[in-house]
């Protein structure tokens, strides 16, 4: 067992965890943040993507103890005061989700992509989302949603 202190979505938590507990399970089971999904549990599908110290990672392939001292953002941090984040809004408008299971991870991966590259081409979007699988295969609309959210976020930044 180890004691870890993490700041998740702006709130500091201190918890005792077993060393082998994965960050995804810690977020879901300890903190009740079930927006972070576990799809494949083998670091392939990306449904469990969260940001640790500003970088997108697969939380099923990171130990909670490794995140000790880190600042973590999950899908629950994206909407504010009942207003969707521009990426979430664009996914809604472009029908960038069908069953929705991959969506939280997809949104967090897109947030990471747009942070590094605010104006990606289609090819860059495809390369940037290689770590996320949509089993409904709704990729065309996901790419559209990324382009729309990128446009709006650049507009906002200006």
């Amino acid at each position: 067992m180890s004691t870890i202190a993490v700041t998740v979505n702006g709130i500091k938590h201190t918890r005792e965890v077993e060393d082998r507990v994965l960050l995804a399970n810690f977020l879901r089971d300890e903190l009740g943040l079930t927006g972070t999904h576990i799809g494949c549990d083998t670091s392939q599908c990306g449904c469990c993507t969260v940001h640790v110290d500003g970088r997108a990672v697969k939380s099923c392939t990171m130990l909670a103890v490794q995140a000790n001292g880190a600042t973590i953002s999950t899908i629950e941090s994206m909407a504010h005061d009942g207003k969707l984040h521009p990426i979430q809004q664009a996914f809604t408008e472009c029908h960038g989700l069908q069953c929705g299971f991959c969506t939280p991870g997809m949104i967090m991966a897109v947030a990471g992509l747009l942070k590094d590259n605010p104006d990606p081409t289609d090819a860059q979007i495809e390369h940037g989302l290689e770590g996320n699988l949509c089993r409904c295969t709704g990729y065309i609309n996901i790419v559209k949603a990324v382009k729309l959210s990128a446009e709006r976020m650049r507009g906002k930044a200006r």
Binding site: S43, T49, A56, T61, Q66, E130, G131
Partner: protein, 268 residues
Amino acid sequence: MYSFNYVKVKSLKEAGELLAAHPDAKLLGGGMTLLPTMKARLAQPSHLIDIGGLAELTGIAEQAGKLVIGAATRHHEVADSGVVKKMIPALAYLASLIGDPQVRNLGTMGGSVANNDPAADYPAAVLALGATVITTRREIAADDFFQGMFATALEPDEIVTRLSFPIPKRAAYAKFPHPASGYAMAGVFVADTAGGVRVAVTGAGPGVFRWPEAEAALANKMSAAVLDGLDLAADDLNEDLHAPREYRANLVRVMAKRAVAALQSIKK
């Protein structure tokens, strides 16, 4: 996964002492291979010694005309580094192809090199560029370091600390990734160096290897055409459900030709 004890060390010295004291301990860098292996219960380390954030292992710098990269440097840092892009752009490009963005945000160069997965990308660059692997004990030439599938010259309690890359005249990498896993089915790194042309192949064989026939042909004439029909010992290549040996041998030729074409497009 089986239970283990996690230790976040504050120095390489502490990591070395723990490794010596616990023969079943494993070093944890980014964990991008080790954690999935443990989740599948294919490994059962007694301790995980986390060296991921050690300051002694980070940093990208030009030193005495060489590019020196700390073992704990993450793939995305190599891919995005202005220094790497300027000194060895092919290395930055190679790093941008590893796994996926989330993997590149955690995985480390030292971890990849020490693990020596036969389909990993970095070993091809390290071998083709004739890099030196610097450890807690010594400096090991790339030609001596890689010793076949998941095998290296490292002693059990020896830790990779840095990689030192001589700067090639020109270099290029071409990879045919497995469409699902992203691992190289065949990856070929071609480097035109002061010591001659070096060609390293990953993904296709039981471990990274040099292709001497291609090196000789390209030294004679740097042209993709000289690789046509060139001998490649297909008997030694991997054969599995993804591709038979002959298919992989062809992929190696095609990737080598693409790497040479990319290399030729670089202004000297």
